[in-house]
C-alpha cells in the first residue's frame, strides 16, 4: 500500500468515530425515566386519567400545549373540549400543573432523559421544588 500507514490511521479514526455511540456509553449505567404521578391531587382522583389518553399525551402533549397557548393568549378561548367531551380550562398553571405539581419528578424526568429543553418557564412561573406552589 502506498502511504499505507496514513490510510490505516485514517481508517482507525473512521472506526473510532463511527463506533462513538457505542464506546461513549461503555461503563456508564442509565436510569430509565419514571415520571411520578404521586401528587396529592392525583391521589384524590378516582379514575386516574389525564385530559386525553395516555398514549396521546406521551406523544403529543407539546402540540396540545402549543395550541393552548394560541387559544388562551391570541383567541381568548379558555375552554378546551377533550375528545371524551369533558371541558377543561385552558391554563398551564390551573389545569396541567394542578395535578402534575411535581415538575422535577414529572416533566423533567423525561425531558432530561431525551435532552429536550422546552422554554415554558421563560414566561410561566416555575413551580418551586417540593411541589404545591
Amino acid at each position: 500500500m502506498y502511504d499505507g500507514w496514513k490510510i490505516i490511521l485514517g481508517l482507525v479514526v473512521f472506526v473510532i468515530i463511527v463506533t462513538l455511540p457505542f464506546t461513549m456509553s461503555v461503563g456508564k449505567t442509565y436510569v430509565q425515566p419514571k415520571p411520578s404521578l404521586d401528587t396529592p391531587e392525583i391521589q384524590k382522583m378516582e379514575k386516574k386519567q389525564c385530559i386525553e389518553s395516555k398514549q396521546y399525551m406521551r406523544e403529543s402533549h407539546i402540540k396540545l400545549l402549543y395550541s393552548w397557548k394560541d387559544y388562551a393568549t391570541r383567541e381568548g378561548k379558555r375552554v378546551y373540549i377533550a375528545s371524551d367531551g369533558k371541558q377543561y380550562e385552558v391554563s398551564l398553571q390551573k389545569t396541567c400543573m394542578k395535578c402534575h405539581s411535581n415538575k422535577e419528578k414529572f416533566c423533567d424526568e423525561c425531558h432530561n432523559y431525551v435532552s429536550v429543553k422546552p422554554y415554558c418557564w421563560d414566561c410561566h412561573i416555575e413551580p418551586k421544588v417540593g411541589g404545591l406552589k
Binding site: 502506498y2 502511504d3 485514517g10 449505567t29 442509565y30 406521551r58 432523559y113 431525551v114
Partner: protein, 329 residues
C-alpha cells in the same frame, strides 16, 4: 432515465417497512436486526473499499492542478492549489474536504447570440455545501438518542440549530436547509438536460432515500408526533448492546430507522463512498514535487540492456565483411 426505478425502489422500501411492522408485527427485526446488520456491513464494507483503493499503485504525482507550479524562486507559485510541500497538500486537502474547492471552481458554458460564454456557476457548490453540513449537524444532533446523558457539546449544537425558537417543537434550521438543498440537487438532475442525460438510478436512489429519511424525520418531529421517550429506550438499547423493543413506537419511526439502515448498508457499494474516496484523490493529496524528487515506477522490471561496445565486440567481424563502419578495429 432511471428516476422512476429509483423512486419505485425507495417507495418499495417504505412499504416493506410499513408492512413488516404495522401488519406483520416484526418490530424486533426492524428495531434490532436490520440496524446492527447495516452498521456491520457499513464498517466492514467501508474498510474493504478503502483498503482496495489503497492497494492501487500511485507511482507518479499527477499535477492536474489549477495553479503555477513551483519552479524557480523568482516565479511566484501557487502554494495551495499546486503545492510542493506536505503542508501545502494538507491545506489543499482541507479546502477540498471542508469547503469543496473543486466544486467552487465549477463553470458553466452557454451559447448566447451565437457566442460561447463560460462563466462561474456556484449553485452546485452552495447546494452541496448546504446539504452536507446540514446532514452532518443532523447526525451530530441525533447522538442525543445514543447517550444516557447528553454531553453539553451536543446540546449546544441542538440549541444553536433551533436558535430561532419558531413553533413548538422548535424548528431546526438544518431541517429546512437540507430539504431545500435536496430538492435543488434533485431538481438539477430533472430539469438540467445535460445533467439529466448523465444521471443514473445510482444518482437518484440515494437522493430519494435521503429525502425519505428527512421526510419521515420531519413528520415525526413536527406533525405526526411519536413517543420520543420510548424511542430513546430503543436507541439506547442499541447503543448499550442490550436491545429492547418498547411498546408504543409506531411504524413511522420504523420506516425512518429502516431507511437509515438501508442507507448505511448501501453506502460502501455506492457513489456515497466519496466520503472516504475524497481523502484518496491522487490529484489532490500528492505534492507536485516531480521536479525535486525522483519517483521510481514500482512496476519497472530490470530491463536487460546491452551497450553498443558489447554489440560491436560480438559482430565486429561480420560488420567488417558487410562493409559497416566500426568504432574499434
Amino acid at each position: 432515465m432511471g428516476i422512476g426505478l429509483a423512486f419505485i425502489i425507495v417507495l418499495g422500501l417504505i412499504l416493506f417497512a410499513y408492512i413488516g411492522t404495522e401488519l406483520l408485527g416484526l418490530n424486533s427485526l426492524f428495531a434490532v436486526v436490520f440496524p446492527y446488520v447495516a452498521l456491520i456491513v457499513f464498517i466492514v464494507g467501508f474498510i474493504n473499499r478503502v483498503v482496495k483503493w489503497g492497494k492501487s499503485p500511485v507511482p507518479f504525482r499527477i499535477p492536474t492542478t489549477a495553479g503555477q507550479q513551483f519552479s524557480l524562486p523568482w516565479i511566484k507559485y501557487s502554494k495551495i492549489d499546486n503545492p510542493a510541500t506536505g503542508w501545502g497538500v494538507a491545506l489543499r486537502m482541507f479546502f477540498e474536504i471542508a469547503l469543496f474547492r473543486s466544486l467552487f471552481r465549477n463553470t458553466k458554458a452557454e451559447i448566447m447570440n451565437g457566442k460561447l460564454y463560460v462563466g462561474s456557476n456556484k449553485w452546485l457548490w452552495i447546494g452541496a455545501l448546504a446539504f452536507h453540513y446540514s446532514f452532518l449537524i443532523i447526525l451530530i444532533r441525533h447522538l442525543r438518542f445514543f447517550m444516557a446523558q447528553t454531553p453539553w457539546c451536543i446540546s449546544v449544537v441542538d440549541s444553536v440549530d433551533s436558535f430561532w425558537q419558531i413553533g413548538l417543537p422548535m424548528v431546526y434550521m438544518t431541517d429546512i436547509i437540507i430539504a431545500a438543498a435536496l430538492l435543488y440537487l434533485l431538481g438539477r438532475r430533472i430539469f438540467n438536460p445535460q445533467v439529466k442525460y448523465i444521471s443514473l438510478p445510482s444518482d437518484y436512489f440515494p437522493l430519494f432515500l435521503i429525502i425519505g429519511i428527512i421526510a419521515t424525520g420531519v413528520m415525526m418531529r413536527y406533525f405526526a408526533r411519536v413517543d420520543i421517550t420510548a424511542i430513546k429506550e430503543l436507541t439506547l438499547g442499541l447503543a448499550y448492546l442490550k436491545p429492547t423493543v418498547p411498546e408504543g413506537v409506531g411504524s413511522l419511526f420504523y420506516i425512518h430507522l429502516f431507511l437509515v439502515s438501508v442507507l448505511f448498508a448501501y453506502f460502501p457499494f455506492s457513489k456515497l463512498m466519496h466520503m472516504g474516496g475524497v481523502f484518496l484523490s491522487p490529484t489532490r493529496n500528492l505534492a507536485n514535487n516531480n521536479r525535486m524528487e525522483r519517483h521510481v515506477n514500482p512496476w519497472d522490471y530490470p530491463v536487460k540492456h546491452r551497450h553498443y561496445e558489447e554489440y560491436e565486440d560480438e559482430f565486429r567481424e561480420k560488420m567488417k565483411k558487410a562493409g559497416i563502419p566500426v568504432e574499434k578495429e
